[in-house]
Symmetry: C2
Subunit: 277 residues, 2 copies
């Protein structure tokens, strides 16, 4: 979920390994109370989000869920957590295979490992974008930002923040057509820069083409806020996409800049998004 | 690592699932500072233990490691943690496949998911012990208890607590011969009762036959203390074991008691061991 230079490769992507002639896709995300969710937030929502964020990683690989392992620190309402967990796991067809539960002294910390099976080879990665490819996103960004504001203020619809959707079916449909794919968890610009870096290209993004859930005057924020879990992908210009998606830019040959936003360099990662963690 | 009634099946065992015609073995353990390790303990030792406890779960399934995913909360010396992690992963031949790292406000919490491949079918479980089987343990219990005391007092050898050994080769060798197997993480008596419950038998244990690392006057404690990671298993009386092991009891038909210790019932789980968690 977050990135730290010291922990090499921990946050890069799902792990994809060959196992029994198939591609096993593995991902693990942690969430800490007070950092990734609000202390006192409904545990059912926390459970949903923990599941959805991990399943979203599988979605970006075009994988189907095999199951999950839960690392659970007891909290203020474990029954409520379990009810949200069951709801999310049923929704995504991912059985609870096992895990561990502990009690703790401090803020609650949760971990989830999601296990999936790739439905298409090669398994989409971040590194396959080529100059000339087009850049797409499956839907709006900024909805989770508004949802968090609603949750904090107690006014408005907070669902997009509390109950994000992992785009499993879309990821599986797209996998045969994309050259690179990832889910947008840390902000569109930051995550796009990761595709650019991994693919050794420059991504040129047309900011006005990005669908946003916010008023127009908050477009810049929407492009930098995370937690929306849209799929961000590249595909050859001639690709016929199986689902609707918004073309928001194109891949250029690698240069000193990872991103161009409306033609201008965006070199400083501090301006790209949020590395909460 | 620990057991909570609310979290169903979380701590039962490794998950074993069919994947690509092979048996995939998955386990996830969490460790919290101040509960599973001492605040301020050498992070390299903490990393080693986190790896060893999870690999030990694979060992009890006769599995070989495929890799691990790490859930890492930044701590007081991340470089030292990574050095212990690398040492342990190299020792067990388990690559770091991915994971997540976060910062946190409270005591450090760590999670590790170990992924393995079963080397023998059927994969040993806790539920296969049959009346007439003999009960064995691979080595001494009580060593980790003495090690923890040494670590706390600053006197004596704390290695058995700090650097437990997962018995991977032994587990793989034993897998074709056992009727049930698990690793002793929470204490010999408590873990034996889990085999008895899962197998619907009674295990009769000869306490004097159990090899202990402690002086004789601490035998009762040694039988109840965890963290030694010996393999505890049952096998038919006529089985020819491929490695040395200590016969410490036998399986009787199921009764009201899960355990008999020197012929006497041990019905109260509170007297069986430590559920630190």
């Amino acid at each position: 979920m977050a990135t730290h230079p010291g922990a090499r490769n921990l946050d890069d992507d799902c792990a994809v390994i060959e196992f029994g002639g198939e591609a096993l896709v593995l991902t693990h995300d942690m969430m800490a109370e007070g950092i990734h969710y609000i202390a006192g937030q409904d545990p059912a929502d926390v459970a949903w989000k923990l599941v959805a964020t991990n399943i979203s990683d599988l979605a970006a690989k075009g994988a189907e869920p095999v199951g999950v392992l839960l690392g659970y620190m007891l909290g203020h309402d474990d029954a409520r957590f379990l009810s949200g967990l069951e709801e999310a796991l049923a929704h995504y067809g991912a059985p609870l295979l096992g895990g561990d539960s502990i009690s703790g002294h401090g803020p609650q910390v949760l971990g989830l490992t999601a296990i999936g099976r790739a439905t298409h080879r090669p398994v989409p990665s971040r590194s396959g974008a080529r100059p000339g490819d087009r850049l797409y996103i499956t839907g709006q960004v900024g909805a989770a930002m508004l949802g968090l504001e609603a949750l904090r203020s107690g006014r408005g619809d907070s669902r997009a923040y509390r109950r994000p959707t992992a785009l499993l079916a879309q990821g599986q449909a797209l996998a045969p057509h994309v050259s690179a794919m990832m889910d947008v968890s840390d902000g569109l610009l930051l995550d796009a820069s990761r595709i650019a870096r991994a693919s050794r290209i420059t991504l040129s993004i047309d900011s006005k083409a990005v669908p946003i859930a916010t008023p127009e005057d908050r477009r810049a924020e929407a492009l930098r806020w995370g937690d929306d879990y849209q799929l961000l992908f590249t595909a050859p210009a001639e690709a016929s996409l199986p689902i609707p998606a918004h073309e928001i830019g194109e891949a250029l040959p690698g240069s000193a800049e990872l991103l161009l936003l409306d033609g201008l360099p965006l070199g400083d990662s501090a301006r790209l998004g949020y590395e909460h963690g």
